[in-house]
């Protein structure tokens, strides 16, 4: 496909895809590579990286394998990133589409509603939500989704506002299609690319938010995640840099990869830039 070809010419995006694939592979194979529980004490505490070849990234203060933690943590970080983004996109698209398509009072009400969420700092809101509903995979995911949908809603609304005026939408009205049908079959498919771009960037932000929550001690205590690892290691930053360095690097790489991919998609889909490159 044309899209694939153009995408493959974008080096950044290809590198991003490569890194992300590796991370996903790591998440999938974690139970095979590091069987058993990543929480388990397996060696001497505070082994430096490479000090013992079977623990290449070293161990933490309880003698847990950092490499195992990173491999197992990949699943949580990615899952929270993806699921929260999906939820946010679902809410955002629904609200944005309704507001943009129907306009008028509906738009006014929905946009005011969106403003409430936008006016409160997203991270503060996430912190409060997670603290109040006690940290768990579900509460963290939902909290991140709840604070990140407004940007999707605004984007979708803007897209709908402009697409609604487009002649092919008017044509659909003229031939007698119903509102919901027009939204779903005429407008939405044409708004998909900016949504995909935003969503891909949101996954990255969600991973960062999750790690920041964990850092503040608001992570899910029953699952290993990168943010948790940094949060747990931060007090020992000076004594055992590797404990926070590697999970930090993992977050950095994952977020970077997703951003690169997102930008790649953007470049390929954005007609403005088409033909300028290469």
């Amino acid at each position: 496909m044309d899209f694939m070809k153009r995408f493959s010419l974008n080096y950044g995006a290809v590198i991003g895809l490569l890194i992300l694939t590796l991370i996903i592979l790591m998440a999938i194979t974690a139970p095979l590579l590091f069987p058993g529980n990543p929480w388990k004490t397996v060696a001497m505490p505070l082994l430096r990286p490479m000090q013992d070849p079977s623990y290449i990234l070293g161990t933490d203060m309880l003698g847990r394998d950092i490499a195992a933690g990173i491999a197992h943590g990949a699943k949580v970080s990615l899952l929270i990133g993806v699921v929260s983004t999906l939820v946010a996109v679902l809410i955002g698209v629904t609200i944005g589409a309704l507001a943009g398509f129907y306009g008028g009072l509906v738009d006014d009400l929905l946009m005011r509603f969106t403003e409430f969420f936008q006016i409160i700092p997203a991270f503060a809101m996430a912190v409060v939500l997670v603290a109040i509903f006690s940290p768990s995979f579900i509460s963290i995911t939902l909290a991140i989704a709840v604070v990140s949908w407004p940007s999707v809603a605004r984007l979708v609304r803007a897209e709908f506002l402009s697409l609604r005026q487009r002649e092919f939408v008017q044509a659909a009205v003229v031939i007698g299609q119903s509102g919901p049908r027009i939204i779903l079959t005429q407008i939405l498919p044409n708004a998909v690319s900016p949504i995909i771009v935003t969503a891909s960037l949101m996954v990255a932000t969600a991973i960062l938010t999750e790690s920041a929550l964990s850092f503040l001690g608001l992570g899910d205590r029953n699952t290993m995640s990168w943010g948790f690892m940094i949060g747990a290691a931060r007090t020992m930053l000076r004594e055992a840099w590797w404990m926070s360095f590697f999970p930090g690097l993992a977050i950095l790489l994952a977020v970077l990869a997703i951003n690169l991919i997102g930008e790649g998609i953007n470049d390929v889909m954005n007609p403005h830039l088409r033909g300028r490159k290469n």
Partner: protein, 554 residues
């Protein structure tokens, strides 16, 4: 100064390669022409033929990845292709100036127009601020801008299209350049404004003895102002010569084709033809229709009120084509959208076969929609890029309860009817040309067996030759199906070609109505008269040229 005979500018075998993956290899190829001082050289050709590219190459304004090659562009002995950037910059604005098509986007929205005119002088080394300031006033006065001392402090958005274009012209004239390049400077303007701007350019050109390269696709404009003409097709110059020669004795078949397609009088339908075949009962009747736009009323801000349609009463019969013409903003589209019920009216009635559809709610009206269909203006925007032609065509019948197989059969039938191959059914819009897309649009409207067809500027976005084909198709269809058609256009010449009746609109009101012959030959209203007077190229009669050609070939 060089000798009088030596051309001011000479373009010699200019070629510009396009990057991989474009529709053709070269944007322009082996272009050669000369421009002398004191002449207006018109460049004509269809969209994409390379007119703008040539102009931009002279200015050195091509994007970095497009590299012009060839023997050179010589201006007063200097080869512009090899001139260092700084020297070229110095020439721009001082020796060679340029005017663009879109007057709004050509001006920086955040600078006053005075500042922008002033800047040309400033960057070319005129240090004396008061001298510049005086010159700004003088220039604004000269291009006919009202009250220059106030207007210089205005921002572009406060000016009308015509005024903006005058500002751009003032900017171009600031340093009395010897060459002025105008790239379709009037295409975005109303006929009346266009006439004024053309007049202005002609006047200045005469007064200053400038060489002007005027890019256009409108033969009427060419006829009005050109000294010499070059015709371009797909990046090649196919014909060049004096205006008389090219316009009246075109040699190249492409030129001939273009000229044959120019809308002109004489092809009008015979008056009364429709009333004979038509149903005496009106198909559609508008009574005192009103629509006023109100900008969203804030809690405390007063709303902006635009009366777009005022007290319009019209009657449309079966088999009749009703033209609606008028300047931009006169409310033509609003009228069309009201009839389609894409907008709610404020007052009056819309009687469809005697039944008032105005008060119906959207859902109540939906089952009736199929009877009133529309052909849109932009063939690129009116087809959903994510749907196949088949889907686009069958969506309507499906929404109206027709089964899939029937709809498909009808779609294939109609594709043939509008002159498209069956294989179009599974293809996507971007695989078609503009003219073909407009045919698809027409097919879509016909899918539902409408009684009334509304065409809003349906051919304005098309090149003349394509425009002509689509118009012919519409006429055929109308004659066969005996629909009632409302044809909205800003071009009186086109309206004259296809309509039985023409309504002239101004500021939401119909000021005059009648058959084309009456509108053209005996316009009653002062506004209509002005419109007619502003039509470019009235002195030139393409139909005669064609006739002559026919006779020659016989």
């Amino acid at each position: 100064m060089s000798t009088a005979q030596a051309p001011l500018l000479s373009v010699d075998k200019l070629t510009i390669r396009l990057p991989e993956g474009f529709d053709r290899k070269n944007a322009i190829e082996d272009i050669s022409y000369d421009l002398s001082a004191g002449e207006i050289l018109c460049v004509v050709g269809e969209s994409g033929s390379g007119k703008s590219m040539t102009a931009n190459a002279i200015m050195g304004l091509l994007p970095g990845y497009l590299k012009p090659t060839g023997n050179g562009i010589r201006y007063r002995g200097k080869n512009l292709l090899t001139l260092p950037e700084e020297e070229k910059r110095n020439l721009r604005g001082r020796d060679i100036a340029m005017i663009f098509q879109e007057p709004l986007s050509a001006l920086n929205p955040l600078m006053t127009v005075g500042e922008q005119i002033d800047e040309v002088m400033l960057v070319h080394g005129i240090e004396d601020a008061s001298a510049r300031s005086a010159r700004v006033l003088e220039l604004m006065e000269y291009v006919g801008l009202p009250d220059p001392s106030t207007m210089r402090h205005s921002y572009p958005f406060r000016l009308s299209g015509g005024q903006r274009q005058r500002v751009v012209i003032a900017m171009a004239l600031a340093l009395e350049p010897s060459i002025l390049i105008a790239d379709e400077p009037t295409t975005a303007l109303d006929v009346t404004t266009q006439a004024q701007i053309l007049e202005l350019i002609k006047r200045i050109q005469r007064a200053k003895g400038m060489g002007v390269i005027f890019v256009t696709h409108d033969f009427g404009v060419v006829a009005d102002i050109a000294d010499r003409v070059i015709v371009m097709e797909k990046g090649l110059v196919v014909e060049q010569g004096s205006a008389d020669q090219v316009l009246n004795h075109p040699r190249h078949p492409y030129t001939q084709r273009l000229i044959a397609a120019v809308p002109h009088r004489g092809t009008e339908r015979k008056e009364g033809s429709s009333t004979q075949t038509g149903d005496p009962a009106p198909l559609l009747e508008l009574r005192n229709l009103n629509k006023t736009y109100r900008s969203k009323e804030g809690l405390f801000s007063k709303p902006r009120i635009v009366p777009a349609v005022q007290n319009i009463s019209l009657t449309l019969r079966r088999g009749q084509t009703l033209g609606v013409v008028g300047e931009s903003g006169s409310g033509k589209s609003t009228l069309g959208r009201l009839i389609m019920k894409l907008l709610d009216n404020d007052g009056g009635q819309i009687l469809y076969q005697g039944k008032d559809i105005a008060p119906l709610s959207q859902s109540a009206f939906r089952p009736m929609r199929k009877k009133i269909q529309m052909i849109f203006q932009d063939p690129f925007a009116s087809l959903n890029p994510r749907q196949t032609i088949g889907r686009i065509l069958t969506d309507g019948p499906l929404a109206n309860g027709v089964d899939k197989a029937t709809a498909r059969g009808r779609a294939e039938q109609l594709l043939a009817r509008v002159g498209l191959d069956k294989s179009a059914y599974v293809r996507y819009p971007h695989e078609f040309s503009g003219g073909q897309r407009q045919r698809i649009g027409i097919a879509r409207a016909l899918m539902l067996d409408p009684d009334i067809l509304i065409a809003d500027e349906s051919v304005s976005a098309l090149d003349v030759s394509v425009q002509e084909q689509v118009l012919r198709l519409l006429r055929e269809i109308q004659e066969q199906l005996k629909l009632g058609m409302i044809f909205i256009t800003h071009d009186l010449r086109i309206a004259a070609q296809i309509c039985d009746q023409i309504a002239v609109m101004r500021q939401g009101e119909v000021v005059e109505m009648g058959p084309p012959s009456q509108i053209f030959d005996a316009p009653q209203h002062e506004y209509t008269q002005r419109l007619i007077a502003a039509i470019p190229g009235k002195e030139w009669h393409p139909e005669h040229v064609i006739q002559n050609l026919h006779e020659e070939s016989r």
